[in-house]
């Protein structure tokens, strides 16, 4: 693991002492550690039992908000919990994702463009093509009686949907998958371990710089509804987006749209492959799928995001200082005993499923409507075509963060 430079190390030591003096449990929560599948959720459950806030001395160090109330309060108070940095171990990011890392009020101008592009209506219109994509992909391996679920389905499906709805060449699907993998491999690391991630981020920018030039010079006709034409020609108040803004927005859409869905689908299928009664339930009654999606999102929340303190504050007894990083632990908050009955059990027909899988406050995931549709369609189409299946691998059932993801999942069926 890379060392912190002396100035950062001194700051980290001061912050750790500040947390310990305030009586905050100090832990070493290294989310880059590879652990057996489902371990991170049980670790969050244990941490939450020791208090609503913890402090982790991993890397430069960060506070951890673990309960539903505190997570919601942080999301709803962006003037204190800024989005200037959103990875817990990276207080000084070399990049600026838009609108992810823009605070209100500027945030709303960027966000409006994306809200319309990813609206529930837009998703509804696309449903049948997304469904066809899911069927086509399953068709490629259904006769084999087995598949490498993550590589053959969980990565391919969201990437295919992504290039289709954004009007990019389908043959670039593989390239997008590769960039996204390299970025999530490095994300949350620091120093030289993050170098390949930064290189991939530069390559993505080069790709979208071409797209930007093309759409500015040859805008597609309005009736095509081409996403990047809209982005390249849309007015932000009284001006066009700059190339840099366009690139930063394109990158965040790519990152947010692919790996999240891959991880979420993998855990849902891992649960169903190991819990025959729930799998049979979905086959017997596909109308349960929409509620099941919410329950998977709640109980298997994958994103450990962060905020950065904008002004010194005493937050529920914790002395947080400007510049401190705070992990907003969605995976913990959505399993909070104060909020849900028997929260660690997956119940497909659970009545109260509100969760923070899509974060909250002004930065609520713009792709939430699309993600929900992708997850529901994947579950429905898969179980129509492959109603019985089981896990075929014993190695590789491991995971790490900051976006919790299964490394390997092989499924087989008769």
């Amino acid at each position: 693991m890379s060392k912190l430079d002396p100035a950062m190390a001194a700051e980290a030591a001061e912050r750790r002492e500040r947390a310990a003096d305030a009586g905050c449990p100090v832990v070493h929560f290294d989310y880059t550690n590879k652990k057996p599948a489902l371990t991170y959720w049980s670790e969050f459950d244990k941490l939450r039992a020791s208090g609503p806030v913890a402090y982790s001395d991993f890397g430069p160090g960060f506070w951890m908000l673990l309960t539903s109330d505190l997570v919601r309060e942080a999301y709803q108070t962006p003037e204190v919990f800024s989005s200037s940095a959103t990875i817990p171990t990276v207080p000084h990011p070399d990049w600026q994702w838009i609108p992810t890392m823009i605070d209100p009020p500027e945030h709303a101008d960027y966000r409006r463009i994306l809200n319309i592009a990813f609206s529930p209506r837009f998703v509804r219109d696309l449903e049948s093509t997304i469904r066809q994509d899911a069927r086509d992909i399953i068709e490629t391996f259904v006769a084999d009686g087995e598949c490498d679920f993550i590589n053959a389905f969980a990565k391919v499906f969201p990437a295919r949907v992504f290039v289709r709805i954004l009007g990019l060449p389908v043959e670039h699907t593989e390239q997008f998958k590769e960039w996204v993998e390299r970025i999530f491999e490095g994300l949350g690391h620091f120093g030289d371990e993050a170098e390949d991630q930064l290189a991939a981020q530069r390559e993505i920018k080069d790709y979208f710089a071409e797209v930007f030039r093309d759409r500015r010079e040859n805008p597609r006709p309005e009736e095509d509804g081409d996403f990047f034409t809209i982005l390249a020609t849309q007015k932000l108040r009284d001006r066009l987006l700059t190339e840099q803004e366009f690139l930063n927005m394109a990158e965040v859409i790519l990152l947010a749209g692919l790996d999240t869905v891959r991880s979420q689908i993998s855990y849902a299928f891992y649960h169903l492959a190991t819990t025959p009664s729930d799998r049979e339930w979905i086959v017997r009654d596909p109308s349960i799928v929409e509620n099941a999606v919410e329950e998977f999102l709640r109980a298997q929340n994958i994103v450990m995001t962060a905020r950065q303190i904008a002004v010194d504050t005493e937050f529920h007894g914790c002395p947080m200082k400007k510049g401190d990083m705070v992990m907003v632990a969605n995976p913990s908050a959505s399993r909070d005993e104060a909020e849900y009955e028997d929260p660690t059990t997956i119940k497909l027909d659970r009545k109260v499923t509100r969760h923070y899988s899509f974060a909250g406050g002004p930065h609520r995931c713009v792709g939430a409507h699309l993600a929900r549709a992708e997850l529901a369609i994947a579950l429905q189409e898969w179980h129509r075509m492959i109603p019985e299946y089981e896990v075929a691998n014993t190695d590789g059932l491991i995971e790490s963060g900051p976006q919790i993801g299964l490394k390997k999942l092989h499924l087989k069926w008769a």
């Binding site: 919601r72 709803q76 409006r112 809200n115 319309i116 990813f118 609206s119 529930p120 209506r121 009545k351 109260v352 499923t353 509100r354 969760h355 923070y356 899509f358 909250g360 406050g361 002004p362 930065h363 609520r364 939430a368 409507h369």
Partner: protein, 66 residues
């Protein structure tokens, strides 16, 4: 009875108009629009209002009793 959305908290999760379509619709950006705010106690619409209230991650929905 009446259902009220606190617009300063609503961030467009969309649970209300998905789960309670008799009471809410959505606008072009995905934010909810209240179709008909008032309803009778004990009605199907009250049931939908209660569902929306407990399903909102932002706690932006409340029900006012007459």
């Amino acid at each position: 009875m009446q259902v009220v959305i606190d617009e300063s908290k609503c961030s467009g999760h969309g649970r209300c108009y998905t789960l309670s379509p008799e009471l809410f619709d959505c606008d072009d950006e995905g934010f909810p629009v209240v179709l008909e705010p008032t309803f009778e106690a004990g009605s199907e619409r009250e049931r939908q209002a209660r569902t929306a209230e407990v399903s909102c991650p932002e706690r932006a929905i409340s029900i006012l009793e007459a």
